[in-house]
Symmetry: C2
Subunit: 255 residues, 2 copies
């Protein structure tokens, strides 16, 4: 397929590389920022533009991968004059209707993309949705060419999927960050020492429902330890509130 | 070394297997519950008792691995008449002084132990502390025979280490549990689909400080998505409070 990329951030970069590797043709990259546009274009070996009106009209699929807050205006500009083409966005929490075109769709690869680290796209589940059946088939085909897991999912269910991802990725990572912060401030044990524990915590949920393998003071409701640990966080109001709320939630979930 | 195990829970079971595998001799197992005592004793091929006064007096090290709330009374009973021996406990948050004996120590293997899953002890960091130098050397020696990572750590620093472990293990696991709960209630995507995301989140912190690789709506402070996701949790007050608090904390940590 012939693809045009609108946006040149982490997701667009990873997706662009994956579609190229799968044998599709990336015709052109658009980004308002010349540096981002040229960086991604040179990675993919294609031209770029910073003027959306000048973007190629020859692509089969236009993939819009921009910040949620600018998705609607960018989509409106992109569609103009290219109404016969398929436009898709890649945002977990934005509805199909963010794109003002009859041929519209969503292609949401659920992963945490960082500039610092390349990812293997084949293991990333991709969730697709489209207004028209042929477009949905096209997106499933595109998905299967780069990933082992492609599912159809409605806008409503995708919102909850994205919310679920915030818990098991962003919030999990924040718990790692708070764990590291505690170590830095007391005793100086490096966070690396926690990695076997972190890995085992992850390994367990590969084969067990997380609720059933919970351990620690909160699930045992060991009030003596809980009160002492709360007291250790007395100087940091937010961390203490997080400790109390998560401990209570762990306990309540077992009832 | 000749070892006696006081307690037959998850930690005692895993530790008992590890010391036996390393060539130490487990002389006897004590547990108040006959079933637990006999199960562990038969696993280790040693006798058991449910009467602490009847426990062997021939061990070099008595390892007390019981609930924090009963540690002090159990330790007091165990020491009685065996004052010349070394007694250690395995609790992250309990002080060295929980054991009323001159020869006392702590042997804290930092891992999440479940009955459901056996662990490889060699990758578990063990933190030791002792009142007397010779006993500390003995515990370091015991540690090195079963684990690649043995560190000395004071009672005070160990308290913070344990708190840090609650964040990167128990709280992380609870975020997994909440993620699964959201999926179960909406759309029915199985939690397995989240595993590549969960794994990548873990993989990133093997080589990067967690704070520096945060992604998602909170770190971008994408208020539009944040408000919409809060609204999706309107029916669950606790989950909504967790969402708000963690999102704010992620954002504040970047300032």
């Amino acid at each position: 397929m012939k693809i045009a990329l609108i946006g040149a951030g982490n997701l667009a970069t990873n997706l662009g590389k994956a579609v190229k590797k799968a044998g599709h043709e990336v015709l052109e990259v658009f980004s308002r920022t010349e540096e981002s546009a040229s960086t991604l274009a040179s990675t993919l070996g294609c031209p770029f533009t910073t003027d959306l009106q000048m973007l190629t009209s020859d692509a089969d699929i236009y993939i819009i991968s921009v910040k949620d807050s600018v998705l609607e205006p960018v989509a409106m500009d992109a569609v103009k004059g290219r109404e016969g083409k398929l436009f898709v966005h890649t945002a977990g929490s934005m509805p199909l209707t963010s794109i003002p075109n009859e041929r519209r769709g969503v292609f949401y690869p659920m992963q945490t993309f960082s500039k610092q680290k390349e990812v293997d796209f084949s293991i990333i589940p991709c969730f697709v949705e489209a207004a028209m059946e042929e477009d949905r088939d096209l997106l499933v085909q595109l998905g299967k060419s780069i990933s082992n897991t492609v599912c159809e999912l409605s806008t409503d269910d995708r919102k909850y999927l994205h919310l679920s991802a915030v818990f098991c990725c962003n919030f999990v990572n924040h718990c790692y960050a708070l764990s590291e912060k505690i170590l830095k401030e007391h005793g100086g044990v490096p966070f690396d020492v926690m990695l076997p524990l972190v890995e085992e915590t992850f390994n367990k949920v590969k084969t067990h429902s997380p609720r059933t393998v919970q351990t620690g003071p909160a699930v045992r409701w060991d009030e003596n330890v809980i009160r002492k640990q709360e007291a250790l966080l007395a100087k940091d109001e937010t961390m203490q509130a997080i400790y109390k709320l998560l401990s209570k939630s762990i306990h309540d979930d077992q009832l």
